[in-house]
Amino acid sequence: MKSLAIKNLKGRPVRTAVLMVLAALLSFTALGGTLVVASLGKGLDSLKARLGADVMVVPREATMKKKFEDIVLQGSTGYFYMSSALADEVIQREGVGQVSPQFFLASTGSSCCSIPVQIIGFDPDTDFTVSPWIKRTYGGELGKYDIVAGSDLNAFVGDKLSFYGVECTVAAKLEKTGTTYDTTVFTNKDTITALIQSSLDKGMNDFKDTDPEHSVSCLMINAADGTSPEELVNDINIHCKKVRAFRSGDMINGIAGSLSGVSQMIRLLIAAVWVLGIVILLLAFTMSVNERKKEFAVLRVMGASRAKLAGLVLKEALCTCLGGSLIGAVVGLLVLLPFNGVIEKTLALPFLLPNAGSITCFAIAAVALSVISGAAAAAVSAWRVSRIDTGLILRGDN
């Protein structure tokens, strides 16, 4: 009986192939959809962690032209500055706790490609958003002209990169975050001051009157104890005219809404494919059993019990669904893992694949689910085949 199931499947290759394709589709949809939804969730969590501060303060023009949001959320490159005096005015407001300045610059075309790279400088003495993240891959101090490259930059430790004629050395490469920071270069205040000065000297900086030693791009602020971020934001916006403060949470809310919508759509798609797939499997197994009634009747006459017949149908279903599910899972992994960059770019949302262990669990679950669904669809036919009246079938009175 064991080999009879395999022989039956080999004897009808077209039918077996079609059923395997269906099982593969179920498994592919389950795995693919689950991985995409999980990656979107992980990307959003990563973005929240990367932003780090309760409140961000930027020059007013950066928000009027949506520059800051485009840099952080859309991956655009850009830079803007406010004077240190203006920054000090903000820092002295009541309710400001931890504060650290950041400095933005965008390179021009790099060596082979004309795509600018976003450069963000931070003050190592006061920083609390970038440094903890950098320390996960690089425990040393960043020297002058040392840079830390985001994970999606094709630059590795020891490589030399030139920005505005200043040669910098890649000291470390960051872990993937699934956010626009993956294509960003980070460096310390001394280096970025030198880069900004070099861009001004070459006449390649849009802000010709900027004094790099006395300018900042953004203030990252944690509210002091007893002050809520909302109160701090309102206070800064009312009393400091040339800047704009906002909660990092507000910036993420729009993205979280889009992400939720996309995830919901994917879940609906998975459900629709599964319902359709199971219905088709049910019909396919029913039709298959119907056309083989005489075959089963002969087996009964030869001594096969009702349970053995039902077991034969279930074994065929399990073999077909297992083979198809494994193929579907492998195809799903071959599509999602190498092409996750395309998916990320198409969705334009934070996207971070889960770790290898989680992906393996998702794959096993998708295969198991597909096999169980196929077996459940075949169980109806298995029960029916165990109920056949041998005499009626063989006489032709079915």
Binding site: C113, I115, L153, N154, D182
Partner: protein, 134 residues
């Protein structure tokens, strides 16, 4: 009869992988276009290299399908193994590419070339193993 069917299926799959490397790399999995001023980036030349290797693999795959001598077919299929591996090594290993991993070459062309190159190499090896001599 059964072995002949397997050989045909493998041959068609080999042709498919080779066409993906030759035609596909120009039409579907292509690299970035020219820069302003008409200058091509490094990835364009990597695409051209894959096109040439893919073209050679396509011709060999057609020969595998239509040559009558079984031994010759196995030999031709075996030749696709180093060619497939060579094609897979071109993007970013043999020809270093742009800095931004979200650019088209890194996100689309490199994974496609690696997958089809390795697939062609594996299928060629399988054909050489299971193909009938004569």
């Amino acid at each position: 009869m059964k072995r002949k069917a397997i050989e045909w299926i493998l041959g068609v799959l080999l042709l498919g992988c080779s066409l993906c490397l030759s035609v596909g790399v120009k039409l579907v999995f292509h690299a970035c276009g020219p820069m302003e001023g008409g200058k091509w980036m490094t990835c364009h030349w990597a695409e051209q290299a894959v096109l040439v290797i893919g073209g050679v693999m396509t011709v060999i795959s057609l020969l595998v399908l239509f040559v009558t001598s079984g031994g010759m077919r196995k030999g031709l299929a075996l030749a696709l193994v180093p060619l497939g591996i060579g094609a897979a090594l071109i993007p970013n290993t043999m020809i270093k590419l742009c800095m931004m991993s979200d650019m088209r070459f890194h996100s689309v062309m490199k994974p496609a070339v690696i997958i089809f190159g390795i697939a062609a190499a594996v299928l060629g090896a399988v054909y050489a193993l299971v193909g009938k001599k004569d």
